[in-house]
């Protein structure tokens, strides 16, 4: 156990009381996080994904110390977050895509000035950081605009800059690209990559947009029903999710579904075009050869598995307890 972020069998159980009648209440427990263990070394950028209600936000809240775990051991930079929330607050940055820390009625610059005082950032450091953020996030013309007049993408970039002015050692991002257009998304991703590479900031990224993960994280953790169902590289996700590649063949004329090609099965026929699925981990060459040898092949293409489908399948496979 020598990671920067360490979770060992962390649990969070919520007591939910429900009124079932006059003065009668029913109590039941919800296991939002049900025994999660992982370790993130300093400077790593990890994706943390899962369907709605899987326990992502609960985990992030425990990591930042605003929620105490019901069990297990949790350390961030050697500190127990819920015991020293304020001390840790100076060392972390948090961005919630759907919430803002900026001062609504005032220019961005005013909110940043407040961040400087709040985190006691030395003047020179603050200037350098702000300059870098302005440059990378393209905030130049926006510093004197009241936050309420910013577009969602601009506000989001403003919020990300606000979370980084105090040089946090770790950055938690919850849906940082939600609702952004393609250009803004690209800018945000580029910026996060730079920050991670330049300053070695550890980044935990929660998102529904898998492109974020594909472009930023080598490692991804999948959580469902409060449990970690996958922790590893993006490629490995395909093996675990039993994902399939697709060989699409165009034939000279319509024929019955192709059968008898080892390792492949025909899943769809549309006129002279047929779709053959095969395991993502195996090679396409023998299958192409087998089809070309036996059928009048005109054209073909291979489609890579869609990570979204892989994960959707992973979610679907786990039964609700």
């Amino acid at each position: 156990m020598d990671g920067f972020i360490e979770l060992d069998d962390v649990r969070k159980v919520f007591d939910i009381r429900r009124r079932t009648g006059f003065l009668r209440r029913e109590r039941h427990q919800v296991r939002a996080v049900d025994g999660i263990s992982f370790s993130v070394p300093r400077g790593e950028m990890v994706g943390y994904i899962g369907p709605n209600g899987a326990g992502k936000s609960t985990t992030i809240k425990m990591l930042t110390g605003i929620l105490t775990p019901s069990g297990g051991r949790l350390r961030v930079a050697g500190v127990d977050p819920s015991r020293d929330r304020t001390g840790l607050a100076r060392r972390i940055g948090v961005v919630f895509g759907q919430r803002t820390t900026l001062w609504w009625d005032l220019p961005l610059r005013d909110s940043y000035g407040l961040v400087r005082r709040m985190y006691r950032v030395p003047e020179a450091r603050y200037r350098a950081n702000l300059e870098r953020c302005v440059e990378l996030l393209d905030l130049g013309g926006l510093l004197d605009v009241p936050v309420r007049q910013l577009s969602l993408g601009q506000r989001m970039r403003g919020d990300i800059a606000a979370a980084l002015l105090h040089d946090p050692e770790v950055l938690y991002l919850d849906e940082p690209t939600i609702g952004l257009d393609v250009v803004s998304k690209a800018k945000v991703r580029e910026f996060l990559r730079e920050v991670n590479a330049e300053r070695g900031t550890t980044v935990v990224l929660t998102t529904h947009d898998l492109t974020d993960i594909e472009q930023l994280c080598k490692r991804v953790m999948v959580i469902d029903h409060g449990r970690l169902v996958y922790d590893g590289g993006l490629d490995g996700l395909h093996a675990v999710g039993e994902s399939e590649r697709m060989l699409v063949v165009d034939l000279e004329h319509e024929i019955p579904p192709i059968a008898g090609v080892p390792g492949a099965r025909t899943v769809k026929v549309e006129g002279p075009r047929q779709w053959l699925a095969f395991a993502a981990t195996s090679s396409a060459a023998p299958i192409v050869a087998a089809v070309a040898g036996r059928y009048p092949l005109v054209d073909l293409s291979v489609r890579e598995p869609d990570i979204e489908e892989v994960i959707a399948r992973m979610y679907a496979e786990r039964p609700t307890p």
Binding site: L67, T100, R120
Partner: protein, 277 residues
């Protein structure tokens, strides 16, 4: 404790910056300010004529002569926004943040929630004292004969008393806002507190008008610190030791209510931290 002093000074600078922000936030809305000044002035006239009718019928009601009663009217219009006598200010904003869960973001910051909101509310109050207080009072002084003091000391005591009144007002509204942690809809408590405040601060009628035990009780409740005491300080009804007692009365309520706010705040934080809000 050199280090401690340094910490304190940096903290003060942060909250001073928050107060400046609070001031500037309200200063951005010029049309709203102008509309507020207009409303306060119109209301000032309406209430002034009502009071004139009342004091003609009952001279020296509550120990005020007519010009003192009219001073009460115009000062209360001048302080209406500043001391949030009809509610408002940060209260709805904080309640919204609690309801929407945005409050979680505030807990990530290395700041004290109560100090943050107090600083921001003091900034707001200063803006509204200048932006919404000066003009109505000046108009009132031009249109009617008011009993305004001529000496600087009384004015300075008045400003100190207003400051204490604003802190009491803040502390009460902070308690009300924090109720949103436990109630799904805080608007009921908000309305109740606004009604209590309107009556017991003296905004409706000066509290010394009310006779007997009821009047005594009304004058010792915290709302009295928000308007009744500052106006009486301005009218010179407290001098010497009496003035010190009046200011101490305000300061005591401020301290008690701020302390209650801290207790409620830590209970609320514990609730969020353990139960997830």
């Amino acid at each position: 404790m050199r280090f401690g002093d340094d910490e304190g000074e940096r903290g003060m600078r942060l909250y001073a910056a928050v107060a400046v922000g609070g001031f500037r936030r309200y200063a951005t809305y010029r049309t709203a300010t102008a509309a507020g000044v207009f409303t306060n002035t119109v209301f000032g006239f309406i209430v002034a004529y009502t009071y004139i009718a009342l004091w003609n019928e009952r001279p020296h009601l509550g120990g005020y002569d007519r010009s003192q009663a009219l001073t009460f009217v115009w000062v209360s219009q001048a302080l209406l926004a500043c001391a949030s006598l009809l509610g408002g200010g940060f209260q709805e904003e904080l309640q919204d943040r609690i309801r929407s869960g945005d409050i979680a973001v505030d807990l990530y910051r290395p700041v004290d929630l109560q100090m943050w909101w107090l600083a921001s509310d003091l900034g707001r109050a200063l803006f509204q004292l200048l932006g919404r207080g000066v003009v109505p009072l000046a108009v009132g002084a031009l249109a009617f004969e008011l009993a305004l003091p001529g000496d600087v000391v009384t004015w300075l005591s008045f400003l100190l008393s207003v400051l204490l009144g604003v802190v009491v007002s803040f502390a009460l509204r902070y308690l009300v806002a924090l109720c949103a942690f436990w109630l799904l809809d805080g608007s009921g408590v908000g309305t109740l507190s606004a009604l209590l405040c309107m009556f017991f601060s003296g905004t409706l009628l000066p509290l010394n008008v009310f006779p007997g035990a009821f009047g005594e009780v009304a004058r010792t409740l915290p709302w009295a610190a928000m308007l009744q005491v500052p106006v009486d300080v301005l009218l010179g009804r407290h001098h010497g030791a009496g003035l010190a007692v009046a200011l101490a009365f305000q300061a005591a309520w401020a301290a008690v209510l701020l302390a209650a706010g801290r207790v409620l705040q830590s209970a609320a934080t514990r609730k969020v931290v353990v139960q997830g809000g």
